[in-house]
Each structure stands twice: as structure tokens, then as C-alpha cells.
């Protein structure tokens, strides 16, 4: 079965061809705004035009229905090793959602380490991988990051990653699919990594 984004891309291409045949190039470009493509469901193109308001299911680039992996702040943004990042700006965070410095100590907005009531520095909270550690602890499955696809979001290349396991149920509670997982694993939940590469 074709992936939904494939079907939508084909529909967008068909529509654009029909529109272009009846317009000048300038008027064609003028009319082929993101709103029109969003209406036709051209997810990939619409994301490039209006990445922040993609019609993806819950974050830009993700148009399947699998839910996000467990995460501290509501969106499963990770660094290249799978550790949590603050979704708004990619700042490293610990498992409690607090921004941390390069050594893992929780800091405030000005970058100063947080202190306890007696002035001592607060201890470093755990900072572990959303797929391998969080998912395994909560669901007792052997989750690993496998498979990825790429989208242009916010003008930069976003890598969407499947957290794969042998579980026949995904984080949503219903049946899991193979997706981009391999070695018999199935998609349990999804995460994303923003590369910073322009697109």
C-alpha cells in the first residue's frame, strides 16, 4: 500500500499540472501558494512552504499516525544520539525538561546553574535516550532507533526516526506497522532530529 504522503504528493502533482496548463508561469507560481497545496493535501510541498503550519499529524514532517515517543516537554526532539532537546530551540534538556549546560547541570535562563535553598548546586538529573531508555522503562520493550525519512521543516532538513521494537502494538495502543523498521521490528513511536542543514 502506498504511504499517505505518496498519495498526497501524486494528487498535488496532478493538480499543479492542471493549473499550470491554464496559466502563465507567473500567475501559476502566484497561485500555487502553500494554502492551495495544503488544501489538496500536498504534505511535502506544503511543508516546504509553511513548515510551521504543516498539516502533519503532530509535528512537521510526520504524516503517519504513530504517536510520539515519551519525552519531557511534549515533542520528541532529540540530538543525533537520541538524547532529549528542547523542542523550541534545540537546547539540551535533562529528563525533567530543564535546560542543561554542556556538563549536564541544570541552568536558568542566564545560563547559571540552579541552586538548592542552602545555595548548593542542584544535582544533575538523569538524561537518557528517549527511545532506548524511556520507552524500555515504561513499556518493557527493546526499543531501538531504526529507519528514518527526511523532510524540510523550518528551512532545514528534519530527520524523522522510528523507535522500533518487536511489540505488535504501538504507543497509540493499536496495531503497529513495519514502517522503516527492519529485522522484524515494528514502529512503536516516532522522534525527530533537526540537522540544521538548509533546504
Amino acid at each position: 500500500m502506498r504511504r499517505p504522503d505518496g498519495l498526497l504528493d501524486a494528487a498535488a502533482r496532478a493538480l499543479s499540472t492542471r493549473l499550470a496548463s491554464g496559466m502563465t508561469r507567473r500567475s501559476f507560481l502566484g497561485r500555487m501558494g502553500g494554502a492551495v497545496l495544503a488544501a489538496t493535501g500536498g504534505a511535502a510541498v506544503a511543508a516546504a512552504v509553511r513548515p510551521e503550519k504543516s498539516e502533519a499529524f503532530h509535528f512537521c514532517g510526520h504524516i503517519w499516525t504513530t504517536g510520539s515517543c515519551l519525552n519531557p516537554l511534549g515533542l520528541p526532539r532529540i540530538d543525533k544520539n537520541g538524547f532529549p532537546l528542547r523542542p523550541s530551540d534545540g537546547h539540551p534538556i535533562d529528563n525533567l525538561g530543564r535546560p542543561v549546560n554542556s556538563e549536564g547541570w541544570a541552568v536558568d535562563g542566564s545560563g547559571s546553574r540552579l541552586r538548592s535553598p542552602d545555595g548548593e548546586f542542584l544535582p544533575r538529573a538523569p538524561r537518557t535516550r528517549l527511545c532506548e531508555d524511556w520507552t524500555n522503562e515504561h513499556y518493557k520493550i527493546g526499543g531501538v532507533m531504526q529507519g528514518a525519512w527526511y523532510r524540510c521543516c523550518g528551512g532545514q532538513v528534519r530527520k524523522l526516526v522510528d523507535c522500533c521494537s518487536y511489540s505488535k502494538k504501538r504507543i497509540n495502543g493499536d496495531a503497529s506497522l513495519t514502517g522503516y523498521c527492519f529485522d522484524g521490528r515494528r514502529v512503536f513511536c516516532v522522534l525527530y532530529y533537526d540537522s540544521g542543514l538548509k533546504c
Binding site: 525538561g97 538548592s116 535553598p117 542552602d118 544535582p123 538523569p126
Partner: protein
């Protein structure tokens, strides 16, 4: 009852007054005993299930009183035994009538409110307070045996007129019960009574004596507050108190000191990189930080040269926190980058086990007695004060604070009372909370 307590039945006015007085006293006492019993039973049962049951019962009762739901009430469809008036002496039957009506469930129940009050007394879990509240029920019973005839010599006629004007009572009762549902529902979700004790942090408790650290005018001090009328004692500069009866251990710039706080006399001094004392005299646990490692040490300070026993060790980037020592048990946390754990060591058997272990959350700041342990679990959505009976798998949440701006911090535990620091890093405000469970 209005027809019973008359001069004709009692013999004359004097016995009538005696009968009414004994009736009222017995009703009060019986109600109070019922309340105390319910409160005592409630203190043994978990507060949370009792609160939920009470709220649910109040809801059903409100629907019943409003005429929406037909619900039979458990009741004894009897009146007080009339023959007692002829078979028993006046003091006995009048007191017997009072006790019977004061208990509530031995006679008719026209409204459901009585049973809701019973459920609420269970949820309250405090015998004295429940006794006081139920005594009011007994007082009401006594009042209604006397008041209707206060302007009218014909008691039954007075009661009939009263009943005729009481059409608003069921609706008012339904409203009051609805209010009871709301109040019971918003009672602390963890089923524990939480009270703020004011500024301070790092509580330490032994019985009813509480010690805490505080910063006043930039100076760190420890305040020891015994129950009234004993005066409060202050030690300065001092931090991280640990309390055991008359002994107080605290941390200062030189290391750790142990004093008799009642007489302000020093007992022991440990100079060096020592901090976070925990005291169960003569045992003292503390953290020794040599720069590269943090070690949890246990020592017998009654000896001139105490042997130090290293219980746990981590690299300095990790954290062993503030240990707890009580009832033959030593508890501590271990927080590393890859996770956190709470450990308890049984000093008699030298067996240690992990109460809680996680790769995700931050488990911290345990306090322990011979039977229970409390600690704080930190998550992104807030911090939770957890409690567990030692040897049980079940964990109970005593209270929680939502969000990341304010968090629960260090704890103390004595009997069925926990203390916890509530800390807001941005405003540097800290308060000690007391949690009864």
C-alpha cells in the same frame, strides 16, 4: 421524645428536667463515641479510598434528597422501646433513649445525611475531631426533644406544625450534600492533610520536635522547635540539621557538629569535608567529599576514634544527597546521569535493597523510619512525595506539586507525619510542609 419527656410521664417537673438532662448527655456521648470510633477506624484505613467513598456517597445522597434517585437507606425502622419507661428507673431509660438516638443507626433515618457524615468521619481519620462533629448530632437530637414545646405546652402539636413548615428541608439538604461532594472532592488528592509551617528547608523531625534550616539576613541557621511550652532553640551558623531526641547534628564551615540542643552543649565534632549528617545516636551517617568522589559514611560517634564504614561511593559528578538514619535503617539516594535509585540498608542484617530504581525520573531525598520510607520523585510534570511501607511493593503518593517552577525537595519522616521542603528556585523561596497521612 416530645411526648415522653413530660411531667406526667416523668412524675413531676424535677424528674422531667433530670430525664431531659440525662437524655441529652447520653445522646451527646453516644454520638461522640460513634464519631471517635469512625475516626479511629478511618485512621487505620487509607485516607484516599475513604475520601473517594465519602464523595461518591454524598453525591448519591444529594440525588436522593433532590428526588432524582430512589435510594433505600440502611436504618432500623424502630422507635425507642416504650416499655423501658415502665421497667427501668428514670435515669436509666432516659439515658438509654439518649444513647439509642445518639448512635443514629438504631432508629429511623429520614435523610441520608447521617451516612454521609459517617463516611466523612472515616475519611477524616481523626478520632477527636470526628467525635466533636458527631457530638453536634447528639446535641441536635436532644434539642429536638425539648425545643418544639418551648412556646407551646402541646408538644405533638408543636412538632406537627414544625413538620408542616419543613418542605424546604429536603432541598436544602440536597444543596448541602452537593456542597459536601465538592469539598470532599477537592480535599488533597493524595488523601493527606498538608500544612505549611513557614519558611525553611531541610526538615528533620523526631516525635513532635522539628528542626529546619533557614536563611535570615544572609545567615544560615538551624531552628529547633519542640512542642509547646518548650522554647525554640537556634544554632548559627548551621545547616542541614539531623535530630535524634536531645541531640542535633548539623553542618557548618568546619564540618559536622553534634550537640545537645537543649543544653547547648557540644557532644562531638568532625572537622573535614563532611556534610549532610543523619543521626540515630550513637550512629552518625554523613557524606564525605574528597573532590573526586562522594562517599556515604556511617560511624559510631560514641567511640573516641569512630570507625568509618563506607556504605556507598560515587564520582563527584553524581549525587548521594542527604542520607536518613532511623529505626535501624539507613536510606540514601544515588543520582547519576543514567538514572537514579533509592536504597535502604538494614543495619541489623546488613542487607541493602533498592526501594526504587529508574532510568528516567529523579528519585531523591529519602527519609526512613523502622516501618516506612518517603522520598521525592521528580518528573517533568512535577514532583511527587512518595511513601512506601518497608517490605511492601505498593507505593502511595502523599502529595504533589505541578510544574517545574516549584519543586519538592528534602524530606523528614516521623510516625505518620512527613515533612517536605517546597522550593522555588527563581524566587529562592523555601517553605516546610507537614503532611499527615
Amino acid at each position: 421524645m416530645v411526648e415522653t419527656f413530660t411531667p406526667a410521664v416523668c412524675g413531676s417537673r424535677s424528674p422531667q428536667r433530670l430525664a431531659i438532662a440525662l437524655f441529652a448527655l447520653a445522646a451527646l456521648v453516644a454520638s461522640a463515641v460513634l464519631g471517635a470510633t469512625l475516626g479511629f477506624v478511618g485512621s487505620l484505613v487509607g485516607t484516599r479510598p475513604a475520601l473517594i467513598a465519602a464523595a461518591a456517597l454524598a453525591f448519591l445522597a444529594a440525588l436522593r434528597e433532590a428526588g432524582i434517585l430512589r435510594l433505600p437507606l440502611p436504618q432500623s425502622r424502630r422507635q425507642v422501646p416504650e416499655r423501658w419507661q415502665y421497667e427501668l428507673p428514670l435515669p436509666l431509660w432516659s439515658a438509654g433513649y439518649g444513647a439509642g438516638l445518639g448512635l443514629g443507626f438504631l432508629t429511623f433515618q429520614p435523610v441520608a445525611t447521617f451516612w454521609v457524615a459517617c463516611a466523612a468521619a472515616l475519611a477524616l481519620g481523626k478520632p477527636a475531631v470526628a467525635a466533636g462533629c458527631f457530638a453536634l448530632y447528639g446535641a441536635g437530637r436532644a434539642f429536638m426533644a425539648v425545643w418544639p414545646r418551648h412556646r407551646e405546652p402541646n408538644g405533638p402539636a408543636a412538632v406537627e406544625r414544625l413538620v408542616g413548615r419543613a418542605t424546604v428541608v429536603p432541598r436544602a439538604n440536597a444543596i448541602v450534600l452537593g456542597l459536601a461532594v465538592v469539598l470532599l472532592a477537592v480535599a488533597p488528592a493524595a488523601g493527606a492533610a498538608v500544612t505549611s509551617l513557614g519558611r525553611g528547608f531541610d526538615p528533620a523531625a523526631d516525635g513532635k520536635t522539628l528542626a529546619r534550616a533557614r536563611i535570615d539576613s544572609g545567615t544560615l541557621k538551624v531552628v529547633v522547635a519542640p512542642p509547646a511550652p518548650d522554647p525554640t532553640d537556634t544554632v548559627s551558623p548551621a545547616n542541614a540539621p539531623a535530630l535524634d531526641g536531645d541531640y542535633l547534628a548539623y553542618e557548618d564551615d568546619q564540618g559536622i557538629k553534634v550537640i545537645d540542643w537543649r543544653h547547648d552543649s557540644p557532644m562531638r565534632e568532625l572537622d573535614g569535608p563532611y556534610s549532610h549528617p543523619a543521626l540515630d545516636y550513637p550512629l552518625l551517617a554523613y557524606i564525605r567529599n574528597d573532590g573526586a568522589h562522594e562517599r556515604l559514611v556511617l560511624a559510631d560517634i560514641s567511640k573516641p576514634n569512630p570507625d568509618e564504614r563506607v556504605i556507598a561511593s560515587v564520582r563527584s559528578a553524581a549525587d548521594l544527597g542527604r542520607p536518613a538514619l532511623r529505626g535501624g535503617r539507613l536510606a540514601w539516594h544515588r543520582i547519576v546521569r543514567g538514572g537514579s535509585s533509592i536504597y535502604v540498608l538494614d543495619l541489623a542484617t546488613n542487607k541493602r535493597h533498592a526501594i526504587k530504581r529508574t532510568n528516567v525520573w529523579m528519585e531523591a531525598s529519602p527519609s526512613v523510619t523502622s516501618r516506612r520510607i518517603v522520598w521525592v520523585e521528580h518528573r517533568p510534570q512535577g514532583s511527587y512525595l512518595r511513601m512506601k511501607w518497608l517490605g511492601s511493593k505498593r507505593t502511595k503518593t502523599l502529595m504533589h506539586v505541578r510544574g517545574r517552577k516549584t519543586l519538592l525537595w528534602t524530606t523528614a519522616l516521623t510516625g505518620r507525619t512527613a515533612y517536605v521542603t517546597r522550593w522555588t528556585p527563581s524566587t529562592r523561596k523555601a517553605a516546610v510542609l507537614r503532611v499527615h497521612f
